[in-house]
């Protein structure tokens, strides 16, 4: 299937979803006024990926900022991943910058809701 490649902007993240390698990346910042528009294609893509998924899928989330409009959409992405978790073994790698407790807590909040293994990865600098 076709990969998703989206360049980041000051308001939206860089996205690289690659069905061949089973690596899905969301990086940068996510503060659009209306996040639903941005995230819907990503959720749809994951649905199709489920039919031909690799044995393992690595999801790398490395966000500096996200607004509350994005937070529900990010949950939708994770819920879609949860729904295909039987077809592929998924790990969500949640990156946060050293000392950024808000971002660590945000990751833990998703971890509490979503039934997929999370790895919390502290980085010196994003």
């Amino acid at each position: 299937m076709d990969p998703i490649k989206i360049e980041g902007t000051p308001k939206t993240p860089t996205v690289n979803f690659n069905g061949e390698s089973g690596v899905l990346e969301i990086k940068g910042r996510s503060i659009p006024e209306n996040a639903v528009e941005f995230y819907k294609p990503l959720v749809d893509w994951i649905g199709s990926y489920g039919d031909s998924a690799k044995d393992t899928t690595q999801v790398n989330v490395q966000l500096e900022y996200f607004n509350t409009s994005s937070s529900k959409c990010i949950l939708d992405v994770f819920k879609k991943l949860e729904s295909i978790n039987g077809k592929t073994s998924i790990t969500i790698n949640w990156h946060y910058e050293e000392d950024d407790e808000d971002m660590l807590e945000a990751g833990e909040d998703y971890q509490a809701i979503i039934n997929i293994p999370f790895k919390m990865i502290e980085m010196e600098e994003m």
């Binding site: 006024e33 209306n34 500096e64 900022y65 607004n67 509350t68 937070s71 949950l75 808000d102 909040d109």
Partner: protein
């Protein structure tokens, strides 16, 4: 009560105002510094430009990256709140203000604390719902806010803008302070909602 403020602060008061706003401006002008102020129509262009300016400003004024990130995050929510909730029709209906002057926003620094003020017109019928939401947020401490955030995040409901009512909870969580708010009377149908946040 009449507030006296120095001449250089007068231009910040402008037309969209209330006693609470005047007191805030006066308080910040007295020993603090007003870093950014805006009054007008919050369009997508204005929002993008304002956030860019503030990010550059924080890079210069704030050495603590954690604090700078917190302030920026809260500002994104507060400004997007103004963008989504300012009732554009209010300005048309109100005869005492220019049509384009629909929202106000001030960022100030005093005693190493950032003070944010955001004000917008609100249809009076919508005040009780907003007030009870704010009171609920203010009744909770850190852990309670986190639980409420998770509950609202996972309730499957979306507002038209996608946030689904997480904005105020998020602002309270990140600021670590209670949300100060005021509803002042404008006319029979409209009030002015003012939110003050300390970070």
């Amino acid at each position: 009560m009449t507030v006296q403020y120095p001449l250089y602060l007068q231009q910040i008061v402008n037309s969209l105002t209330s006693e609470v706003i005047k007191i805030f401006i006066n308080d910040m002008g007295n020993g603090g510094e007003i870093l950014h102020d805006f009054e007008g129509e919050i369009t997508e262009v204005v929002l993008t430009q304002t956030l860019k300016n503030i990010e550059e400003l924080l890079e210069k004024t704030e050495e603590d990256f954690k604090k700078s990130r917190k302030v920026y995050n809260i500002l994104v929510e507060a400004l997007q709140n103004l963008y989504h909730h300012t009732d554009a029709q209010a300005a048309v209906v109100l005869d005492n203000c220019d049509q384009k002057k629909t929202a106000k926003f001030i960022l100030a620094l005093k005693n190493e604390e950032y003070n944010i003020l955001a004000a917008n017109y609100i249809v009076k019928d919508n005040i009780p719902t907003l007030k009870s939401k704010l009171d609920k947020v203010n009744s909770l401490e850190k852990d309670g806010l986190r639980e409420l955030y998770k509950e609202v995040l996972n309730n499957g409901q979306y507002s038209v803008h996608g946030g689904g009512g997480l904005g105020m909870i998020d602002i309270a969580r990140k600021s670590g302070n209670k949300l100060e708010y005021d509803f002042s009377d404008v006319n029979e149908d409209y009030g002015l909602f003012t939110l003050k946040i300390k970070v």
